[in-house]
């Protein structure tokens, strides 16, 4: 059956665009998460018609479809489970149309986030979502995960910047959702599609909303003797009615490792560093800068420094955005977690994580989208040491539970995928989850699209998932990389 599927795919795509050798299957058997799965075949189509053909072949041959962009997802959304065909969308990489007068652009899903921004900048425009992976993640992946980023604080998440999405459904038909205008008729199904992690179809085109670049930008770097002081300033800035574009917090462990890399001039002896970006018109930026500096002074900031020029500003951000990569210098393995608390409870949440770290004997460093209450605890470990992974997973679950007790959420921007799937019942009732499953089934009644992600398939009424014919167990969950 898999051999037959491979022949079908090769006939349409050519043999170079269908991978089935053991190395390729291993490579595409995971994404940037800590989870490992496996797949039967990998297809790399170049256009919409080829995507349609891939989906139809998968259906005919009883394979599940796992859509994948650049594979930078951190929750296992594109980690395939056995019995899957991985459809990689990175070769659909044309920017189809940019229409400044309508503040929109049509792009194929494989366009890299930063490539689109570079094309837009000379027009004075941008695509606002800025995940840390923007240099390597695709627009299709950003839509599938409803990606965030530091500037979500002022500009909102990906969902706030999408006019329309074209999707290949599980039955191989192509449908467009939303429209180019401000409103469209019918139910707003874009909301279901954005953040659906590949479970409702394969994205083949996206109409994005464009945002004007701000006239003035200023980044302030604040250093603190305690993490709590830093978090307190963040809450105070929000409560004071200021509207920064981004507020990011890094603790000492992160600051030290990224300073070696970015040479941004971070104070390496501070316990926490906060970056606050202000944008807009010059007058408002200056006023807000004074207000932030005053709040910082009265809350014991030990360093208050404004970026001296655009190059300095870029270095400050480079440090923040490279934290994920730089951390490998101090820890052989780490799990980057993603949880949210109401933003006034940041101090409490950080304290809760400290307790967990102590109890589990782990080092946990922090990068925080502090203005949003979105924590990214980096749980460091060495997978070779026996039992380490178990402590990491226990810590993760305890952090999730603590955040939920504070009225938070199990994910702010990485998504559920496989990593958090089994935590969904901690946040939602059985009725909530059933309705979510009904909504998924409205798009994919036969469960071809990325089964087992977001929601567990066990006990669901909507028939068995595709992939079973290839021998997949009913509720595979992948395995943690050891």
């Amino acid at each position: 059956m898999i051999a037959a599927a491979r022949r079908d795919l090769e006939e349409i795509l050519g043999s170079g665009a269908v991978l089935s050798d053991p190395l390729a299957l291993r490579l595409y058997g995971r994404d940037a998460s800590m989870l490992e799965g496996s797949c039967e075949l990998v297809a790399i189509p170049s256009n919409r018609e080829q995507v349609v053909a891939c989906v139809r072949i998968a259906r005919r041959r009883g394979l599940a479809v796992v859509p994948r962009g650049a594979g930078t997802g951190l929750a296992g959304g594109s980690t395939p489970l056995p019995g899957s065909l991985v459809i990689v969308t990175t070769r659909l990489q044309r920017i189809l149309e940019i229409r400044p007068e309508d503040r929109l652009a049509w792009v194929e899903p494989g366009v890299l986030n930063l490539d689109l921004k570079r094309r837009l900048a000379p027009l004075g425009l941008t695509f606002a979502p800025d995940p840390a992976s923007e240099a390597s993640s695709t627009i299709g992946g950003n839509v599938a995960t409803n990606a965030g980023g530091p500037h979500c604080l002022a500009y909102g998440v990906t969902a706030n910047h999408i006019f329309a999405v074209e999707l290949v459904l599980a039955d191989g038909t192509v449908q467009s959702f939303g429209g180019e205008g401000p409103e469209a008729g019918g139910y707003d199904l874009r909301g279901v599609i954005i953040g659906s992690e590949g479970t409702v179809g394969v994205i083949t085109a996206v109409c994005v909303r464009l945002t004007a670049l701000p006239e003035a930008v200023q980044v302030l770097m604040l250093g603190f003797a305690t993490v709590d002081d830093a978090a307190g300033v963040v809450s105070e800035v929000i409560a004071a009615g200021l509207t920064p574009a981004a507020i990011e917090l890094m603790d000492r462990a992160i600051v030290r490792v990224v300073e070696d890399f970015a040479h941004a001039g971070y104070p390496v002896d501070a316990e926490a560093v906060v970056l606050i970006e202000l944008d807009g018109l010059q007058g408002g930026v200056d006023r807000q800068r004074q207000a932030v500096e005053q709040i910082a002074r009265s809350h014991g900031a030990t360093v208050i420094q404004a970026a001296s020029d655009p190059a300095h500003r870029a270095r400050l951000w480079k440090g923040r955005k490279s934290a994920h990569g730089a951390i490998t210098r101090i820890a052989p393995d780490f799990l980057q977690y993603d949880v949210v608390v109401p933003r006034t409870r940041l101090v409490e949440a950080l304290a809760a994580v400290r307790v967990v770290a102590r109890d589990e004997g782990l080092i946990i460093a922090h990068i925080v989208h502090a203005g949003d209450g979105n924590l990214h605890p980096l749980i460091m470990y060495d997978r070779r040491s026996p039992g380490a992974l178990e402590h990491v997973l226990a810590a993760g679950e305890r952090i999730v539970r603590a955040c939920l007790e504070m009225g938070g959420s199990i994910s702010g921007e990485h998504g559920i995928g496989l990593e958090k799937r089994d935590f969904m019942p901690l946040m939602f009732s059985a009725a909530d989850l059933d309705l979510n499953d009904d909504v998924r089934a409205a798009f994919d009644p036969v469960r071809t699209m990325n089964p087992g992600k977001i929601l567990s398939d066990v006990g669901r009424s909507h028939g068995p998932a595709a992939g079973h014919a290839a021998g997949a167990a009913p509720d595979e969950a992948g395995s943690w990389r050891r």
Partner: protein
């Protein structure tokens, strides 16, 4: 007609279960300010959320409020104003929060603040079947399960009855000013491109109204920018935006949504009173009756790929949404069936008459 007034979500759930069992058709109502949106529906009773009107939680430092669906926009606005905050949707003060969300009505300031769907974080809903479900969260950021809050926007009461909503708030701008000048629709588009602070640029047959909000020094700078672009401006501080809406004083008011670049041509096809939101793609037009003039306007809007529902008066929604029989339409039908399997919720009111 009988109006049912449940006093709690639990009572509402019981009522909906019983109605689903009996096939009793229901129309959810709030402040009755947006009922003209939607196609005609015939129901056996109305369900009012008027008794569900409490604030469930509001911490100003959080910029999030959780309110019951029957709270009015006027009440909410007064509570938020005490803390210099706002839920930037600008509906009729008598409208309820649930009603505004279900009708999908957005602010005239949406050029900068965005549509109503960007200001809802979480919902609690009693589905037509009588399942009490939650979607979204109480936090600013959240990706957990499908985005059910957005699915409610513009659903016109056809999926269930909203019981409470988590709302994202924002600080109320310190300075709010409307600059009025004369000019064309094309000039209004130029203002959008050149004046980043503008949160609404409304062109009418007589004038252009530019709404500026933000820090006082920025508003001053931008007022001068508008004056340079348009000439002959005068300034009104602290007035409502739009200052006048004569298209609402006519028998039928259409709210067309098209790409912004279509507005110039579209306004040539309509007669006064009308107003357009430049850079957004909204056209409000007042027409004398729901007959031929409405059909002609809809045909023109449709040629630009837009939709033209009536928001005030008779005429319903017109064409829009997925084509009957298409794959997207089938998805819509299955979603409706998941929430309201018996079909008791506002039958006929939705886009394709379902």
């Amino acid at each position: 007609m009988e109006t049912l007034t449940p006093g709690s979500a639990a009572e509402l759930v019981d009522l909906l279960r019983a109605a689903s069992a009996d096939g009793r058709r229901l129309l959810p109502v709030g402040g009755r300010t947006h009922l003209d949106r939607g196609n005609p529906t015939v129901v056996d009773a109305e369900v009012s959320v008027g008794r569900l009107s409490r604030v469930l939680s509001y911490d100003p430092a959080e910029l999030v409020a959780t309110v019951e669906a029957g709270m009015t926009c006027g009440e909410l606005d007064a509570i938020l104003a005490e803390h210099d905050q706002e839920w930037p949707v600008d509906a009729d003060p008598a409208a309820t929060i649930g009603g505004v969300v279900a009708s999908g009505a957005s602010s005239a300031r949406r050029l900068r603040v965005g549509p109503v769907r960007d200001w809802i974080l979480g919902i609690e809903l009693a589905t037509g079947e009588g399942r009490l479900i939650r979607g979204g969260a109480h936090t600013i950021k959240n990706v957990s399960g499908y985005d059910l809050p957005r699915l409610m926007v513009g659903s016109l009461g056809t999926l269930g009855v909203l019981t409470s909503l988590d709302l994202r708030l924002r600080p109320r701008p310190l300075a709010r000013r409307t600059v009025i000048a004369s000019g064309t629709v094309r000039q209004a588009a130029a203002v959008v491109a050149a004046v980043p602070l503008a949160c609404g640029v409304l062109a009418t047959p007589d004038s252009i109204e530019v709404r500026l909000e933000g820090w006082p020094e920025d508003v001053e700078v931008e007022s001068r920018a508008v004056a340079r672009l348009l000439g002959g401006t005068f300034v009104l501080d602290d007035v409502a935006f739009p200052s006048r809406q004569p298209w609402l004083d006519v028998a039928v008011t259409v709210e067309a949504a098209v790409v912004p670049s279509a507005l110039v041509e579209l306004t040539r096809l309509v007669s006064a009173p009308w107003g357009v939101l430049a850079g957004v793609g909204i056209l409000w037009a007042g027409i004398a009756s729901a007959g031929r003039p409405l059909d002609e306007l809809r045909a023109a809007v449709s040629a630009f790929g837009g939709v033209a529902p009536v928001i005030c008066g008779p005429g319903g929604l017109g064409q829009g949404g997925p084509r009957r029989g298409s794959g997207a339409w089938a998805i819509q039908e299955r979603i409706k069936a998941a929430f309201d399997p018996v079909g008791i919720m506002a039958p006929g009111r939705f886009w394709d008459g379902s």
